[in-house]
Protein backbone atom coordinates (compact mmCIF):
# COMPACT_ATOMS: atom_id res chain seq x y z
CA UNK A 1 0.00 0.00 0.00
CA UNK A 2 2.81 2.35 0.95
CA UNK A 3 4.46 1.71 -2.38
CA UNK A 4 1.24 2.51 -4.22
CA UNK A 5 0.87 5.75 -2.27
CA UNK A 6 4.41 6.76 -3.15
CA UNK A 7 3.88 5.91 -6.81
CA UNK A 8 0.73 8.00 -6.87
CA UNK A 9 2.50 10.96 -5.23
CA UNK A 10 5.33 10.82 -7.76
CA UNK A 11 2.90 10.63 -10.68
CA UNK A 12 0.87 13.51 -9.22
CA UNK A 13 4.04 15.59 -8.90
CA UNK A 14 5.15 14.88 -12.47
CA UNK A 15 1.67 15.64 -13.80
CA UNK A 16 1.46 18.83 -11.76
CA UNK A 17 4.77 20.12 -13.12
CA UNK A 18 3.90 19.13 -16.70
CA UNK A 19 0.46 20.71 -16.57
CA UNK A 20 1.84 23.83 -14.89
CA UNK A 21 4.40 24.22 -17.65
CA UNK A 22 1.82 23.57 -20.35
CA UNK A 23 -0.89 25.87 -19.04
CA UNK A 24 1.45 28.68 -18.01
CA UNK A 25 3.30 28.66 -21.31
CA UNK A 26 0.03 28.78 -23.24
CA UNK A 27 -1.22 31.70 -21.13
CA UNK A 28 2.04 33.67 -21.19
CA UNK A 29 2.74 33.13 -24.91
CA UNK A 30 -0.82 34.01 -25.88
CA UNK A 31 -0.75 37.08 -23.63
CA UNK A 32 2.64 38.22 -24.96
CA UNK A 33 1.36 37.93 -28.52
CA UNK A 34 -1.37 40.45 -27.71
CA UNK A 35 0.84 42.71 -25.61
CA UNK A 36 -0.42 41.71 -22.15
CA UNK A 37 1.87 41.89 -19.14
CA UNK A 38 2.18 38.36 -17.77
CA UNK A 39 4.19 39.26 -14.64
CA UNK A 40 1.21 38.68 -12.37
CA UNK A 41 0.75 35.18 -13.77
CA UNK A 42 4.22 33.89 -14.46
CA UNK A 43 6.75 35.63 -12.24
CA UNK A 44 7.12 36.17 -8.55
CA UNK A 45 9.50 38.99 -7.84
CA UNK A 46 10.65 40.93 -4.82
CA UNK A 47 8.98 44.24 -5.51
CA UNK A 48 8.15 46.24 -2.41
CA UNK A 49 6.86 49.20 -4.44
CA UNK A 50 3.77 47.43 -5.72
CA UNK A 51 2.98 46.15 -2.23
CA UNK A 52 3.28 49.71 -0.91
CA UNK A 53 0.94 50.91 -3.64
CA UNK A 54 -1.56 48.20 -2.74
CA UNK A 55 -1.37 49.00 0.99
CA UNK A 56 -1.81 52.74 0.31
CA UNK A 57 -4.83 51.97 -1.86
CA UNK A 58 -6.42 49.92 0.92
CA UNK A 59 -5.71 52.72 3.41
CA UNK A 60 -7.18 55.31 1.03
CA UNK A 61 -10.29 53.19 0.56
CA UNK A 62 -10.69 52.76 4.32
CA UNK A 63 -10.38 56.53 4.88
CA UNK A 64 -12.91 57.12 2.15
CA UNK A 65 -15.42 54.70 3.74
CA UNK A 66 -14.89 56.36 7.11
CA UNK A 67 -15.48 59.87 5.82
CA UNK A 68 -18.54 58.83 3.87
CA UNK A 69 -20.13 56.86 6.70
CA UNK A 70 -19.27 59.46 9.37
CA UNK A 71 -20.98 62.15 7.36
CA UNK A 72 -24.19 60.11 7.70
CA UNK A 73 -25.61 61.58 4.54
CA UNK A 74 -27.00 58.99 2.13
CA UNK A 75 -26.00 61.07 -0.86
CA UNK A 76 -22.41 61.19 0.37
CA UNK A 77 -22.33 57.44 0.95
CA UNK A 78 -23.77 56.87 -2.49
CA UNK A 79 -21.20 59.31 -3.87
CA UNK A 80 -23.40 60.00 -6.89
CA UNK A 81 -22.05 56.87 -8.55
CA UNK A 82 -24.99 54.51 -8.11
CA UNK A 83 -25.86 51.46 -6.08
CA UNK A 84 -23.34 49.30 -7.95
CA UNK A 85 -20.50 51.29 -6.43
CA UNK A 86 -21.74 50.48 -2.92
CA UNK A 87 -22.09 46.77 -3.79
CA UNK A 88 -18.55 46.78 -5.22
CA UNK A 89 -17.23 48.45 -2.06
CA UNK A 90 -18.94 45.85 0.14
CA UNK A 91 -17.48 42.93 -1.81
CA UNK A 92 -14.07 44.62 -1.98
CA UNK A 93 -14.06 44.88 1.81
CA UNK A 94 -14.46 41.10 1.99
CA UNK A 95 -11.84 40.33 -0.66
CA UNK A 96 -9.22 42.87 0.49
CA UNK A 97 -7.50 40.44 2.93
CA UNK A 98 -7.06 37.87 0.13
CA UNK A 99 -5.68 40.45 -2.24
CA UNK A 100 -3.28 41.72 0.43
CA UNK A 101 -2.25 38.15 1.24
CA UNK A 102 -1.31 37.49 -2.38
CA UNK A 103 0.55 40.83 -2.54
CA UNK A 104 2.50 40.00 0.62
CA UNK A 105 3.37 36.50 -0.62
CA UNK A 106 4.54 37.77 -4.01
CA UNK A 107 6.24 41.01 -3.15
CA UNK A 108 7.64 40.48 0.34
CA UNK A 109 8.35 36.76 0.53
CA UNK A 110 9.01 36.38 -3.21
CA UNK A 111 6.85 33.25 -3.46
CA UNK A 112 6.51 32.20 -7.12
CA UNK A 113 3.20 33.13 -8.71
CA UNK A 114 2.49 29.51 -9.52
CA UNK A 115 2.29 28.61 -5.83
CA UNK A 116 0.01 31.58 -5.15
CA UNK A 117 -2.13 30.64 -8.18
CA UNK A 118 -2.71 27.17 -6.79
CA UNK A 119 -3.36 28.51 -3.29
CA UNK A 120 -5.86 31.10 -4.54
CA UNK A 121 -7.45 28.48 -6.79
CA UNK A 122 -8.03 26.18 -3.83
CA UNK A 123 -9.41 29.15 -1.88
CA UNK A 124 -11.81 30.00 -4.72
CA UNK A 125 -13.05 26.39 -4.96
CA UNK A 126 -13.48 26.29 -1.17
CA UNK A 127 -15.43 29.57 -1.22
CA UNK A 128 -17.76 28.45 -4.04
CA UNK A 129 -18.54 25.16 -2.28
CA UNK A 130 -18.78 26.89 1.09
CA UNK A 131 -21.48 29.18 -0.29
CA UNK A 132 -23.21 26.23 -1.95
CA UNK A 133 -23.20 24.32 1.35
CA UNK A 134 -24.67 27.30 3.19
CA UNK A 135 -27.42 27.65 0.58
CA UNK A 136 -28.26 23.94 0.76
CA UNK A 137 -28.35 24.06 4.56
CA UNK A 138 -30.66 27.07 4.34
CA UNK A 139 -33.06 25.46 1.89
Amino acid sequence: MAEDGFKQTIIALVLFVTFSWLILSVAIDFGAEYGRDANEIGDGSLDIVSFEASASEVEGDAQSYRTRFESGDVDDIDDASGIFSIATDLINMITTPFSLLSQILTNIFGVPSLVINVFLGLLAIALIFGIWRVLRAGS
Binding site: I11, L15, I23, F30, S102, I116, N117, G121
Partner: protein, 104 residues
Protein backbone atom coordinates in the same frame (compact mmCIF):
# COMPACT_ATOMS: atom_id res chain seq x y z
CA UNK B 1 -13.44 58.42 -8.70
CA UNK B 2 -14.17 59.77 -12.16
CA UNK B 3 -14.63 57.23 -14.93
CA UNK B 4 -14.34 57.73 -18.67
CA UNK B 5 -17.59 58.79 -20.27
CA UNK B 6 -19.17 56.04 -22.39
CA UNK B 7 -19.71 58.57 -25.15
CA UNK B 8 -15.94 58.75 -25.74
CA UNK B 9 -15.77 55.07 -26.73
CA UNK B 10 -15.35 54.29 -30.40
CA UNK B 11 -18.13 51.72 -30.65
CA UNK B 12 -17.36 50.99 -34.30
CA UNK B 13 -14.23 49.16 -33.11
CA UNK B 14 -16.47 46.40 -31.77
CA UNK B 15 -17.20 44.85 -28.42
CA UNK B 16 -13.54 44.72 -27.43
CA UNK B 17 -13.55 48.50 -27.10
CA UNK B 18 -16.77 48.59 -25.10
CA UNK B 19 -16.32 45.61 -22.76
CA UNK B 20 -13.05 46.90 -21.24
CA UNK B 21 -14.92 50.10 -20.36
CA UNK B 22 -17.57 48.07 -18.48
CA UNK B 23 -14.74 46.27 -16.75
CA UNK B 24 -13.10 49.57 -15.81
CA UNK B 25 -16.21 51.15 -14.30
CA UNK B 26 -17.05 47.99 -12.35
CA UNK B 27 -13.48 47.55 -11.11
CA UNK B 28 -13.11 44.16 -12.90
CA UNK B 29 -16.24 42.77 -11.20
CA UNK B 30 -18.02 42.33 -14.53
CA UNK B 31 -15.40 39.87 -15.78
CA UNK B 32 -15.06 38.23 -12.38
CA UNK B 33 -18.78 37.49 -12.03
CA UNK B 34 -18.97 36.36 -15.67
CA UNK B 35 -16.17 33.86 -15.06
CA UNK B 36 -17.82 32.59 -11.86
CA UNK B 37 -21.11 32.20 -13.77
CA UNK B 38 -19.41 30.25 -16.59
CA UNK B 39 -17.63 28.02 -14.07
CA UNK B 40 -20.79 27.28 -12.07
CA UNK B 41 -23.00 26.72 -15.17
CA UNK B 42 -20.58 24.23 -16.74
CA UNK B 43 -19.89 22.48 -13.44
CA UNK B 44 -23.55 21.91 -12.59
CA UNK B 45 -24.35 21.06 -16.22
CA UNK B 46 -21.75 18.29 -16.09
CA UNK B 47 -22.95 17.17 -12.66
CA UNK B 48 -26.53 16.93 -13.93
CA UNK B 49 -25.43 14.48 -16.62
CA UNK B 50 -22.85 12.61 -14.58
CA UNK B 51 -23.79 12.88 -10.92
CA UNK B 52 -20.96 10.84 -9.47
CA UNK B 53 -18.03 12.47 -11.24
CA UNK B 54 -17.48 15.50 -9.07
CA UNK B 55 -13.79 16.06 -9.85
CA UNK B 56 -14.53 15.65 -13.56
CA UNK B 57 -17.11 18.41 -13.27
CA UNK B 58 -14.59 20.80 -11.70
CA UNK B 59 -12.02 19.88 -14.35
CA UNK B 60 -14.36 20.45 -17.29
CA UNK B 61 -15.62 23.73 -15.82
CA UNK B 62 -12.06 24.91 -15.17
CA UNK B 63 -10.92 24.09 -18.73
CA UNK B 64 -13.83 26.04 -20.19
CA UNK B 65 -13.10 28.92 -17.78
CA UNK B 66 -9.42 28.82 -18.74
CA UNK B 67 -10.05 29.14 -22.47
CA UNK B 68 -12.67 31.87 -22.13
CA UNK B 69 -10.67 33.57 -19.37
CA UNK B 70 -7.57 33.62 -21.61
CA UNK B 71 -9.48 35.54 -24.28
CA UNK B 72 -11.08 37.84 -21.69
CA UNK B 73 -7.69 38.52 -20.13
CA UNK B 74 -6.20 39.50 -23.50
CA UNK B 75 -9.14 41.81 -24.22
CA UNK B 76 -8.86 43.34 -20.75
CA UNK B 77 -12.11 42.19 -19.14
CA UNK B 78 -10.53 39.85 -16.60
CA UNK B 79 -7.62 41.06 -14.44
CA UNK B 80 -4.31 39.20 -14.24
CA UNK B 81 -4.97 38.14 -10.65
CA UNK B 82 -8.38 36.68 -11.52
CA UNK B 83 -6.89 34.82 -14.46
CA UNK B 84 -4.17 33.41 -12.22
CA UNK B 85 -6.90 32.07 -9.90
CA UNK B 86 -8.46 30.32 -12.92
CA UNK B 87 -5.04 28.85 -13.75
CA UNK B 88 -4.77 27.63 -10.15
CA UNK B 89 -8.16 25.89 -10.31
CA UNK B 90 -7.23 24.34 -13.67
CA UNK B 91 -3.97 22.96 -12.30
CA UNK B 92 -5.51 21.57 -9.13
CA UNK B 93 -8.43 19.95 -10.95
CA UNK B 94 -6.19 18.50 -13.70
CA UNK B 95 -3.99 16.75 -11.17
CA UNK B 96 -6.97 15.53 -9.14
CA UNK B 97 -8.61 14.22 -12.31
CA UNK B 98 -5.53 12.35 -13.47
CA UNK B 99 -4.62 10.85 -10.09
CA UNK B 100 -8.02 9.75 -8.81
CA UNK B 101 -7.78 6.37 -10.58
CA UNK B 102 -5.19 4.13 -9.00
CA UNK B 103 -4.82 1.53 -11.77
CA UNK B 104 -2.08 3.05 -13.92
Amino acid sequence: MAHTSPSTINASAGLDSFLPWISEVTNFWFGRMTMIAIFVIFMFGYLKVNKDDFIGAIAVASYVSFVIGLIFWVIGIVSGLDFSVIIGITLVSSVLLLTQKKDY
